[in-house]
Symmetry: C2
Subunit: 424 residues, 2 copies
Amino acid sequence: MSAKIPPSKNPRIVIIGAGFAGLRLAKKLANKAFQVVVIDRNNFHQFQPLFYQVATAGLAPSAIAFPLRKALQHAPNVHFRMASVENISLDDKTIQTDIGPITYDQLVIAVGADTNYFNNKEIEANAYPMKSVQESLTLRNRILECLETAMVTEDEQEQEANMHIVVVGGGPTGTEVSGALSEMKRYVLPSDYPELDFSKMRIFLIEASGQLLNGMSPKSSAEAQEFLTEMGVEVKLNTLVESYDGKTVKTKDGTAIETKTLIWAAGVKGNRLAGIPDEYYIANSRIKVNAFNQLIEYPEVFALGDIALLQEEKVFERGHPQVAQVAIQQADNLAKNLLSGFKNPKPFHYSDLGSMATVGRSKAVVDLPGFHFKGFFAWVFWLFVHLMAILGVKNKFFIFIDWLWYYLSFDQSLRLVIRQKPKN
Amino acid sequence: MSAKIPPSKNPRIVIIGAGFAGLRLAKKLANKAFQVVVIDRNNFHQFQPLFYQVATAGLAPSAIAFPLRKALQHAPNVHFRMASVENISLDDKTIQTDIGPITYDQLVIAVGADTNYFNNKEIEANAYPMKSVQESLTLRNRILECLETAMVTEDEQEQEANMHIVVVGGGPTGTEVSGALSEMKRYVLPSDYPELDFSKMRIFLIEASGQLLNGMSPKSSAEAQEFLTEMGVEVKLNTLVESYDGKTVKTKDGTAIETKTLIWAAGVKGNRLAGIPDEYYIANSRIKVNAFNQLIEYPEVFALGDIALLQEEKVFERGHPQVAQVAIQQADNLAKNLLSGFKNPKPFHYSDLGSMATVGRSKAVVDLPGFHFKGFFAWVFWLFVHLMAILGVKNKFFIFIDWLWYYLSFDQSLRLVIRQKPKN
């Protein structure tokens, strides 16, 4: 086996990772004077902001996963390879993958970030993360199976443990999934499980700092908390989780909560690649880059998006937030610099278009530059922006119908426990 | 843990299996003077006739899987338990399950059939079956992964083995999946894999008897074969598969075909349940029942659908075809007899509403009683009938849009390799 990249007269840019940054860059370089090789372990792009809707039975995995070969059609200079990177030799400009070596003239590292358990192995072994379509599906199965178990459990404490869900981390993911779970509890589950008493189903949201949605305005944080509290989510701020053995969550202040489902959304760290020297990784495994997203020691190597740490003066001295907008803007900036042959390259400058989070039906918060709003219009705005950002007309259409359906029927219909049995 | 079925004054009917027969019966007994307990390993009903569209990336698994708790809402007398049956004691009227014992007054066995490898362990270990949503997904992953491998394989013979697909069994499943694969080859895959030569992709359909679609009219059989041949499928009749080691399919006549994907649709056998005496199972593990779907020795036990073998005089002396229509009609007949308290019970009589198969775009064959047609109108008829049979308005709507989309765009969009990693 070999990667079989066809010969080309143009310089070869290899992009590792087809998330927001990698895919955007590949598209910008389509049909230009580069040979582009995109490597990803999956054959699809994932729309991370909606993982929580897959986990809560609102959307099918296929709605937020888009085939990369389709995304990269009509660009003969772009070659996709489904492969895992095993090692990178920066000096030899060679990537070792499970389908053989791939050499490059320029390399773009856009591998994103994964869940950070802060070295707590016990929590890692027992908690449910939500950083991929697959993990979101596993969580969906877990939530539904715990309810099935609750149905047939004699022991009351054990039953409640199956009905409690603890979410750790009050960022957008934690906030949004808590809200979605509380809507399931209220609108969907009682008619599915008429024999269960849903007052026993408790949803906890635990956040280490003093507020939810840390990247947003204090107004948004406070309002999101108010929304969640109204909806019955038990929000615990300034609370650190110490341990979780699969049964009991213990926090630093001595509280214990029994639960069979701990959702861990408390932090991320960069996906490290073998061969990149350890000292290049700083703060939670992000690769330090200069203003052009270049590795200082290897100017032909770039890092983009969540994995990159670019210290922009004054405002973003500790790096940018790890969100899609930064990834996309960095890809755009790098594409421009590459296409100009790095003549008078432009340093990256993040233009913050705002941020938002949705908590539930007609309950969202939006911060735009100099402007904040909440409630129904914020929620509609959130829906619109996410719909427009989703790849593919068909996905947009299906998600729109799904949302409309749910809005009118109060019924998330994907309450399926589908487990694949591997062959061989 | 215990099954925790609430007490009831009414007799308890336990239905094992929520396929076409089991779910239909449960719905007919909703809000009647019975306590109904439905047991299934999965928490969803599966629409078997469209498995092949999941396998060929045309439909999402959720489109043809319907949550059982939703299907059984608004019927307080019907209790669903997601459980696996471990043993049945017919004399004690007790079912042992993984959630504890469940007793019954009347028992309905509607567990359907699974793939029959006719005791060939080697084929069983290496072939891909298509008898569940999960298996269809595994097959979808396999087909796409083989193409990814073909992209990076140096050895030409190995590359071709990754591009060959052999379908064994010329019934509706085998015929329909062969047709769908040949359409993928023609319309969808070449733009995904511009570096591959798709003349190397060969699709074989192997059938042991002298014709395809054995249950249908000779006209339909011949026309389906003609359609497939036109579409480039290599149909081999009167051919018995002897062995498959994961690389080479060998047939009795000495031919060898190299393939990494063998789809086995050559036969089914009943799902046996521990505790049912072996001698009750005849012809391919079907349970022999009388004209009322009763086990002769245990009149309070019934078998319905694919698992049942009911010998109807003259026309169906060797049992009915194992299709949805028989299952549904048997459930309807049993419901009537149960609701009348088995006073003057009616024997089952199958009314054959016809059968059909689709091979591709505008290519289908339909046999109605005394009437046969093919081509575009047959295809539209097939689409309509299947759409109407699908459970749930939303599923109907989504599948309709999916089909319309594919019809207009020539683009099956679910070309995703999604593998779940189990937690713990």
